[in-house]
């Protein structure tokens, strides 16, 4: 469902010509500053990363940059042990987030959208983790997962299992432990975004569906969900980007020293290579470009949708 175009088509240029010198100066300054900042601090480094990915460099002396062509990429794909596990973990992260916290957040938003009492209390409780920094979230889950003093093992022991589980140390478990913490946070974000979308939704559509005899699930799947396409796209982008960019929570729960077995992620491998004792900037940049290309696929989908909406 897209709203009718608000912007009438006005003759091009004529508006621009009506601007006086003061107007032009004002616009140049207030558009120029953020545009210059964007190009200088964001796009220039992004392009430079692309350039550096074809070189080898220790990150210290600029004269030591050597062109190596596609070597870094070849190395990464064939001869860098943590790379494929990292890709696999990023995919697991994406699938997990897309299949559990995201639908759950949408479900909660749908429940909370009805006019019921205490809705703000529920909203706050579920959105609260989103307000906390990932670093704080990391500390909180650390005292839950800690093998000796944590809440989880405490409960398991009290239940008499006698198991001593190292949630964050065991390479088969730690990714899932971190995913639970991340999902705890992601659910609230999706809930708020969807709730905002539902507020702009025309209730008459829902009532029409009810009059036609649709039950709650049918109404949601056939009427509400398809009608909220713009929000769904935003949620899709948010989910993909958060899964690709996942960093802080893993960094903190991994003890703040880069990737740990079982928890390798692309963002962490990049950090491993560009920050630290022996930096391999070319290598890290090539990893960054891989991440960039995957992100661009998501960004592209999103922007194409936005522009299409614009053109209508």
């Amino acid at each position: 469902m897209s709203s009718a175009p608000v912007t009438p088509v006005t003759p091009k240029r004529s508006r621009a010509r009506r601007l006086g010198p003061g107007d032009r100066l004002f616009l140049t300054v207030v558009i120029g500053i953020p545009l210059a900042a964007l190009l200088f601090f964001v796009w220039l480094p992004a392009l430079a990363s692309l350039g550096l990915s074809f070189t080898t460099w220790d990150g210290i002396d600029l004269a030591d940059i050597h062109w190596t062509g596609l070597d870094n990429y070849q190395q990464i794909f064939t001869n860098y042990p943590p790379f494929w596990p990292a890709v696999r973990h990023n995919v697991i992260w994406l699938l997990f987030t897309a299949l559990l916290p995201t639908p759950f957040g949408i479900f909660l938003a749908y429940q909370l959208d009805r006019k019921i009492r205490f809705t703000r209390i529920y909203q706050t409780a579920i959105f609260l983790p989103m307000v906390l920094s990932l670093a704080v979230v990391g500390f909180i889950w650390e005292i839950i997962y800690n093998p000796d003093t944590g809440l989880l093992n405490g409960i398991l022991n009290a239940a008499g299992s006698g198991h001593h589980i190292d949630w964050l140390g065991n390479p088969d478990l730690n990714l899932w432990a971190v995913l639970v913490a991340s999902g705890w946070r992601h659910t609230g974000y999706i809930m708020i975004l969807y709730l905002a979308g539902l507020k702009g939704f025309d209730p008459a559509l829902k009532e029409a569906a009810a009059l036609d005899g649709a039950n709650g699930r049918q109404t949601f799947l056939r009427v509400v969900f398809p009608a909220l396409k713009p929000v769904n796209i935003i949620i899709l982008v948010v989910t993909v980007m958060e899964s690709l960019r996942a960093f802080d929570i893993v960094y903190v729960l991994g003890g703040g020293v880069g990737s740990k077995p079982g928890m390798e992620l692309l963002s962490l491998l990049i950090t491993d290579n560009i920050i630290g004792e022996s930096s391999h900037i070319g290598y890290g940049s090539a990893l960054a470009v891989v991440l960039l290309l995957v992100s661009l696929a998501a960004i592209g989908t999103f922007l194409v949708q936005t522009v299409r909406k614009e053109d209508q």
Partner: protein, 305 residues
Amino acid sequence: MTTTATRPASRTREPQTRQTPAGPRRQTGRHLMLAGIALLWLVPLLWAMYTSLRPYSDTAKHGYLSWPHSLSLGNFTDAWQQSGMPHFFWNSVLITVPSVLGTLLFSAAVAFFVTRFDFRWNIVLLMLFTAGNLLPAQVLITPLYRLYLLVPLPQWMSDSLLLYNSAWGIIAIHIAYQCGFCTFVLSNYMKTIPREISEAALVDGAPVWRQFFQIILPLCRPAFAALATLESIWIYNDFFWPLALIETGDKRPITSALANLQGQYFTNPNLIAAGALMTAIPTLLVYFALQRQFISGLTIGSGKG
């Protein structure tokens, strides 16, 4: 507003309720479910709170999963004093406030331009900003680091004389990076403001800056409330830029400073819990203060096209 045919006659309290068939019993069931989920969601936080209220000696003796023998705010006062938290809080304020204000002002200007003036490059401009916000931070970090080492700043701005290791550098990257998201939301919002309003001002001979500051900005208040909430939370909580671009631990904002403290107080989780919870207070205050406008402000950005 139409009411559904199936609504029980007894429920006359809320005439506009959008409820499809549901009796009071169903309502109770929903409350039980939502209350259960809300409580479950609070467990980690409540556990952190409980831990932070217990003296270390108590937990060391009886274990963490035990009834308290004494509760006190001792960990909070200790964390506050020992770790120099007031100083780091102040660093955070110095970074967050200008970053949020700058982001909102500049993105409003870009959104204003993109939606009100018909230039050929408007869509490209909008895409450039939006896509910029979606690039992963790790992709930028190496060149950004080098760039920061090359940009000189005067003494009064930074004692490092560089953009590197100064709060200005962090503010700059926050504004550059976050403008994309805010521009996107605000341009969607401004499209819903009728053009006639600014046409009228134009006819009256008002210069563009007056249209912007006196007509458009006040009309965007709900969107600003939502964005101010989100941006304050994100920027205050950000952890990556200061970690990479600020060398002196003493200059870091509280979230990345906490990472240092973790090493220092690793043996005392109670103290860390107290410190972590205190760190969260400013964002909680912002959220509660702007909560009312928060969702309604977001609506326009994401709900309607």
